[in-house]
């Protein structure tokens, strides 16, 4: 470690604990409490990365989240590496490995640096003007553009870390733990409000906590000492929670805020194991106090981007907080008083302050006088016109400003310096305020945008420097006054506070500082990360891009990972100056969430992997697993798809299952179908209105199939509904449609037909359904329920019986989706698994065969039964499905009826459901394949498509369902299914392929 750059300071870091880390493979040391940036600076490393476009060497410029340059890749493990981490934000930990980004082969020698030489032909928007010839070459140009763009590298393996979410509800949320935030939190706590104070650092106090100056006194103590005592006093409030290392990411409407708490990123790698990495707090606050502070502005002058050029206030933090000298011969360049605090700190710490270049004519504030007393040289009314040093600032040249500030006069003065601190004033951090919907006003004497009190959403307030107060007395006094008013607090412990501070007496601002060279020969950077300069902004304006948003997008100013925290105000200022507009009228660009980049994993929390979505399993699921079922996802349900035996393929299994179901007995878990219990004196009338057919005359004990339409007349869902009693029905829906059907029915009941006495309850999960079909189904039921009379007279098709299995109530329904003689056992779900096993045992002698959805689909297709969602797509009416029989002619109205008589829905040449047989009976069509009549027609006219297609083992041939234009009239017609490799000839048939007379229902 380069000890000459460290001074002994132990208030905030622990210089007794040495931490080793690696930067670009080189082993280095820092101390506990360092950031990566402070540790690098202590090792005399300024050059950290290369810029986005010109690959210019760049160093650490700030000490916080606004850092545009010192962005590194952390770690090299493919699962845990992290790109684009700000060296200024990451706390040093044992084993930290960091790498420079966007440079090859190294940050010291970067081939991409050639772009800097080409920069004259790479102005803003150059890519819109070139790479167009020859047209086919764009992909090649783009390949290189893509490889030279980007910063760090994405991980390439799945993240092993855990992330978490937590909700918080509080009376008051204070954002920011600087002096105004600490005062606000204490006031809220004194009022008795449940208060949360959050701060993104590991240490409260903002910049005041190291402001150890005679010129800044609160109650006769130096401001830092006073604040330290205040922070200590916060601990006594039980109603105040302090969250450090927590960064407020987004401020949405209705005081809904998101904050990220970093839990392990500061720990050594081995301490992180099995801990949650980051937590996203979802906060609802009754009141929000924003105390987000302000950040220092750079100055815009020629070659203002060299490593070693650092914000003045950051230099102060590095020396006062971290005990790190950012150089041995430091100069300062400023337009305001705050650089003088830095000068005094440096001087007191034994660092040579070479010169202060101040663009102002003079200042007689106390802090300036104090600096002068220390013998620091000040060059008033000057500006820097040039800097030298490619990888580290070595020297600079200053010249005197003309009286109007627009030009330079006199001779160049050269200074040697290994570090320049720059200060262009302060920008209030109004990002969160505007995210919440607040509007800004422009305060011209400070050239800042601040919250407009009259246009602030209710239940929030901004205090401190984010509200435009920069002097210590204003910060303290206004915060106390405004917060007391905001939370209706009459008396507080701050009522006799006394603040004494140096006051700024002179102000001057020049957005773009002049140089002795013409502008186009200079490089005055605005957006350091994206390499956009003042020249680019002026070029954009010349080309007619006038709106701030146009300039931003054309020049990419403010679009880097710092989101323009350092550059936006200067861009606005230069636009205003160039176009002669008032900055207030220009407005700002939109500040978009998040305030600082937010890890995807944190946003998602635990909802990954097996928690991605619910998995619904039937009560018989484990049996299916034990019996080697393959599963199909149907909505959130897992349904057995088929049950392969002894290495069968799916085709083989389905053929076997289908045959067994027709020849002897098959068993299906049908529990996933939606079940809605419908009760009330108007239940029949209700069904009349929601289904296309009539229900009033359905006898108790009988079942009926129903089609449900959308109000636009298209088939929506279907299923069998059973009348259990005079005023009691149970409706079944499709598996995927269950929730939507229930919602839709409730909607109609509550909003259109509140007069109906009907109650709906979903019982899908409460009852399980076991369907047994095939010629031996009757024999199996007989074995399980010996005392049930199964004769066709007593228990005909489409009816149900209440019964008991081993003393447990159940409903047996004789309904069939396969065309076979079938029974459905409905039983409380907790008994279902046992009943299923009993059925398997009873059916053993009949070779009872469990089958899955694929066989179910095949069997119903043999019978021409539709599956809504597969054979329909939301564009088919019942008539299109050749189901005119199900539309009641007598009913005055039902959902969707009116839509069936519109000019388009009555057309006869609509697409209609038909059956298809392939000329080659072995040829199975692909579902989704299109149908055409004349393959040679240009453009080819598609008449429809195949919706369902199977090889039927029971018919020994391929069968399919399709929807075809004018299909009803096309029976017997030959069509072509054009596949990529060949055309397949098919004939249109009836939709029923098997047992057209329905004899097997009663077999």
């Amino acid at each position: 470690m380069s000890n000459e750059l460290r001074i002994n300071k132990n208030n905030f870091i622990d210089q007794t604990v040495r931490i080793s880390f690696k930067f670009n493979g080189k082993k280095l040391f820092g101390f506990k409490g360092d950031t990566l940036a402070s540790a690098l600076l202590a090792n005399d490393i300024h050059l950290v990365g290369r810029s986005f476009k010109y690959h210019r060497p760049r160093g650490i410029m700030t000490c916080g989240s606004e850092e545009p340059n010192a962005i590194v890749q952390i770690g090299s493990d493919p699962a845990s590496t992290e790109p684009n981490v700000r060296a200024t934000e990451i706390e040093l930990y044992e084993g930290l490995e960091a790498f420079s980004q966007n440079c090859w082969p190294s940050v010291n020698f970067d081939v991409g640096g050639i772009n800097n030489l080409l920069s004259p032909i790479l102005p803003a928007g150059f890519y819109y003007k070139t790479f167009m010839w020859p047209a086919s070459f764009w992909e090649k140009y783009e390949f290189f553009i893509r490889y030279s763009a980007g910063l760090g590298k994405s991980p390439t393996k799945a993240d092993d870390d855990l992330y978490d979410h937590q909700y918080a509800h509080c009376d008051a949320l204070v954002i920011g733990g600087g002096i105004s935030g600490v005062i606000s939190a204490k006031l809220a706590a004194e009022k008795g409000l449940d208060t949360i104070l959050i701060d993104d650092k590991n240490f409260l106090g903002g910049s005041t906590i190291y402001q150890d100056e005679e010129s800044f006194k609160i109650n006769n103590a130096n401001s830092n000492q006073w604040l330290a005592r205040e922070i200590e006093s916060l601990k006594s409030y039980k109603n105040l929670v302090i969250k450090s290392r927590t960064s407020l990411a987004a401020f949405h409407g209705y005081n809904y805020l998101l904050a990220r708490e970093a839990l392990t990123d500061h720990l050594s790698v081995h301490e992180r194991k099995n801990k949650i990495r980051q937590r996203l707090w979802k906060i609802r606050a009754q009141k929000v106090i924003i105390a987000s502070g302000s950040i220092e502005r750079p100055l815009i002058f020629n070659n203002n981007d060299r490593p070693g050029i650092i914000l003045s206030s950051s230099i102060k933090k590095y020396i006062d907080y971290f005990g790190v000298k950012t150089g041995n011969n430091i100069s300062l360049f400023t337009n305001n008083d705050s650089a003088y605090e830095t000068a005094i700190s440096l001087s007191k710490s034994g660092v040579n302050v070479n010169v202060i270049i101040d663009i102002r004519e003079n200042s007689d504030s106390n802090i300036v006088k104090e600096a002068q007393k220390l013998g620091i040289k000040i060059l008033w009314g000057h500006t820097i016109v040039e800097t030298n040093g490619y990888k580290r600032i070595k020297s600079f040249e200053a010249m005197k400003l003309s009286s109007d500030g627009g030009n330079i006069v006199g001779n160049k003065i050269k200074f040697n310096s290994d570090c320049i601190g720059i200060s262009g004033g302060w920008t209030p951090m109004v990002h969160l305020y505007t995210q919440s919907g607040g509007k800004l006003q422009f305060k011209s004497n400070d050239n800042i945008f601040i919250p407009d009190e009259t246009k602030t959403p209710s239940e929030q307030i901004s205090v401190g420097s984010c509200n435009g107060d920069f002097e210590l007395d204003d910060v303290v006094n206004n915060t106390i006054y405004n917060v007391k008013k905001f939370i209706s607090l009459d008396k507080s412990s701050y009522d006799k506070i006394n603040v004494n501070c140096s006051k700024e007496s002179s102000k001057k601002n020049i957005w773009l500082l002049p140089s002795d060279k013409p502008l186009h020969k200079t490089k005055p950077f605005l957006d350091f990360q994206n390499d956009s300069t003042a020249k680019d902004v002026k070029l954009a304006l010349r080309e007619g891009f006038k709106s701030i948003e146009h300039v931003k997008r054309y020049t990419t100013t403010g679009m880097g990972t710092d989101q323009g925290k350092l550059s936006n105000m200067h861009a606005l200022g230069i636009i205003a100056d160039t176009t002669g507009t008032n900055m207030g009228e220009l407005g700002t660009t939109t500040f978009r969430p998040p305030y600082t980049p937010l890890t995807f994993g944190t946003i998602v929390g635990r909802n990954v992997g097996k928690f991605f979505d619910h998995t619904r399993k039937t009560a018989i699921h484990n049996w299916h697993v034990d019996n080697k079922a393959e599963f199909e996802n149907v909505g959130q349900w897992k349904r057995p798809w088929y049950f392969p035996k002894n290495g069968e393929t799916m085709h083989e299994a389905v053929q076997r299952e289908s045959k067994a179901a027709r020849e002897s007995a098959g068993i299906l878990d049908a529990s996933t179908l939606g079940k809605i219990d419908i009760q009330g004196s108007d239940a029949s009338e209700f069904l009349n209105r929601v289904y296309t057919n009539a229900w009033s005359k359905l006898a108790i004990g009988k079942c009926r199939y129903g089609l449900m339409l959308n109000e636009d007349g298209m088939v929506y869902d279907d299923g069998v509904t059973t009348r259990l009693a005079e005023n009691h029905y149970i409706m079944t829906t499709t598996t995927g449609g269950a929730a939507n059907v229930l919602s839709k029915l409730e909607d109609y009941l509550q909003t259109e037909w509140p007069e109906l006495d009907v109650y709906l309850t979903t019982v899908t999960d409460q009852y399980s359904t076991i369907s047994i079909c095939g010629p031996n189904s009757k024999n199996i039921i007989k074995k399980i329920i010996p005392d049930l009379n199964l004769s066709d007279e007593n228990f005909p098709h489409m009816s149900f019986k209440d019964s008991k299995i081993d003393g447990v109530d159940c409903r047996i329904m004789r309904i069939s989706f396969t065309g076979e003689h079938s029974y459905e056992i409905n039983i409380q779900s907790n008994y279902a698994n046992d009943v299923w096993k009993a059925c398997m045992d009873a059916g053993k002698e009949f070779n009872i065969t469990p089958y899955g959805t694929e066989t179910m689909h095949l069997l119903r297709a043999e019978k021409g039964f539709i599956i809504t969602g597969q054979d329909t797509d939301g564009t088919l009416t019942p008539s299109d499905l050749q189901m005119d029989w199900i539309i009641s002619k007598k009913k005055y109205d039902f959902i969707g009826k009116r839509s069936l008589y519109r000019s388009d829905t009555i057309r006869e040449d609509r697409k209609q459901l038909v059956g298809l047989l392939t000329d080659d009976p072995k040829e199975v069509l692909e579902e989704g394949a299109q149908l055409v009549e004349d393959i040679n027609k240009e453009p080819v006219e598609m008449l429809g498509h195949v919706t369902s297609s199977y090889y039927s083992p029971n018919l020994n041939k391929s069968i399919a369902l399709a929807i075809v234009k004018s299909g009803k009239k096309m029976k017997g017609k030959k069509l072509i299914v054009p596949m990529e490799e060949k055309n397949i000839n098919v004939t249109i048939t009836d939709t029923v392929f098997y047992d057209k007379e329905n004899k097997r229902l009663n077999a």
Binding site: P155, L598, Q870, T905, E927
Partner: protein, 417 residues
């Protein structure tokens, strides 16, 4: 003619310090009367003006924009361009646009960075497979390049997708349209604006329409913040604000304007070289030339003109992204924003005359209008110039909501991006 953009003009201008570039477009005050006015200076509106001037010799026209051109959904979308739609009418419309995209940079002499890196649509359940295969077959017969990929081929084309069979909704395959891709959204608006301006079209920014004047069943002009502007033909291309303008003209539209969100990550070196969309696991992602992952989220279910959506929508989208790309867990969201999308009941657009003579609407593009920009402009220009739709936009008339002849793109895609 404006100065032509090329590498040579860049070098030439570099020599003079880039001081001599011409304005990309003028900043005129509105005239008293135009032959046609386009309301809305987004990509579609500017393209409409461009083609009115170029193909129909209507140069005495204006585009009025209440803010800055390209500032609405043109500058807020995820820039996906494809034409693999299900229905013939949609496929023809979007492929017409895609064909124009293929030569657009050259036509406009403005690099819109149309990048044909392919668009893949993933299937996650058996019905997805049927629907996507149906679309692929229809596309092929309609002359649109589309192929079906099995899971291994999906993995090969985009190796970072998690195609493990152990995830909640495994990838069962997908379709690929290689001609599809992305473009630079701002450049489209700027390129059309520059081209239209060069032919004499007045592009009037910061000019908000306050009223549409009708005399009987004919349109007469617009009241704006810059005064009354007369015209017998008014084409409204106002996306999320279409209903507001329709209301000024006393007509109603079958639209709802809802928030749609999108987000980008911090830029990284190339990691995904195509566009991948998934409807069932609702996520779609591509990587911009700058290196940002560009991710589209869904719409909220309520009407809002605030350009802000709910956090849970964005959270749900990232959840889906991490399901399919667990390697992105440590990537960071840089920016998140919202747009206002005008959605039709059948998820298809309206490019139509109205019952008011001389008043035309181009709206209802929902979540997927960017891809249609050149085609939409071309066809809308045709409709305005001839007072009759082109055959490619005939199906997208307003009367379909009366007759029932909808172009229902919900059928194949729950969300028609």
């Amino acid at each position: 003619m404006k100065n032509k953009y090329s590498i040579f003009s860049l070098i030439k201008n570099a020599l003079s310090g880039h001081e001599n570039w011409q304005r990309a477009w003028r900043d005129p005050e509105p005239k008293k009367e135009y032959d046609a006015i386009i309301v809305g200076g987004g990509g579609h509106g500017l393209a409409t003006a461009y083609y009115l001037a170029k193909k129909h010799n209507m140069t005495n026209i204006a585009v009025v924009e209440k803010g800055w051109i390209g500032g609405g959904n043109t500058g807020r979308n995820t820039t996906i361009i494809r034409s693999n739609y299900l229905w013939d009418a949609s496929a023809a419309l979007y492929d017409h646009a895609l064909k124009i995209w293929e030569g657009l940079s050259q036509e406009l002499n403005y690099n819109v960075m149309f990048s044909q890196r392919g668009v893949m649509n993933l299937a996650h359940n058996l019905q997805d497979v049927r629907d996507l295969k149906r679309r692929t077959h229809a596309n092929r017969l309609n002359g649109i390049d589309a192929v079906w990929l099995n899971t291994e081929e999906v993995k090969k084309f985009c190796p970072i997708i998690n195609t493990s069979s152990n995830i909640r909704y495994p990838v069962l395959g997908g379709t690929l349209q290689k001609r599809a891709g992305t473009a630079r959204h701002d450049a489209v608006a700027w390129g059309y604006a520059r081209g239209a301006d060069a032919m004499g079209v007045d592009i009037i920014q910061n000019c908000e329409v306050k009223g549409i004047k009708r005399i009987g069943d004919k349109v007469e002009g617009i009241e704006t913040t810059k005064g009354f502007i007369k015209s017998k033909k008014i084409g409204v291309v106002a996306a999320g604000h279409s209903s507001v303008l329709a209301n000024m003209a006393g007509i109603r539209l079958p639209l709802e304007s809802k928030p749609l969100q999108a987000l980008v990550s911090e830029p990284v070196k190339p990691i995904i070289d195509t566009v991948v969309m998934s409807n069932a696991v609702h996520a779609y992602v591509s990587q911009s030339d700058k290196g940002e992952l560009v991710i589209g989220a869904g719409t909220d279910d309520y009407v809002s003109y605030t350009q802000k959506g709910s956090h849970n929508i964005a959270e749900g989208t990232l959840k889906a992204i991490l399901e399919l790309y667990p390697i992105f867990s440590r990537m960071k969201m840089l920016r998140q924003w919202g747009g206002i999308v005008d959605i039709c009941p059948d998820a298809s657009p309206i490019l139509s005359k109205t019952q008011v003579k001389g008043l035309y609407f181009n709206c209802g593009w929902g979540t997927g209008g960017f891809k249609a920009t050149p085609g939409s402009g071309d066809l809308f220009a045709h409709t305005i110039a001839n007072d009759e739709p082109h055959k490619l936009n005939a199906a997208f008339n307003l009367n379909r909501f009366v007759s029932g002849d909808l172009v229902d793109e919900h059928g194949a895609a729950a969300v028609a991006h």
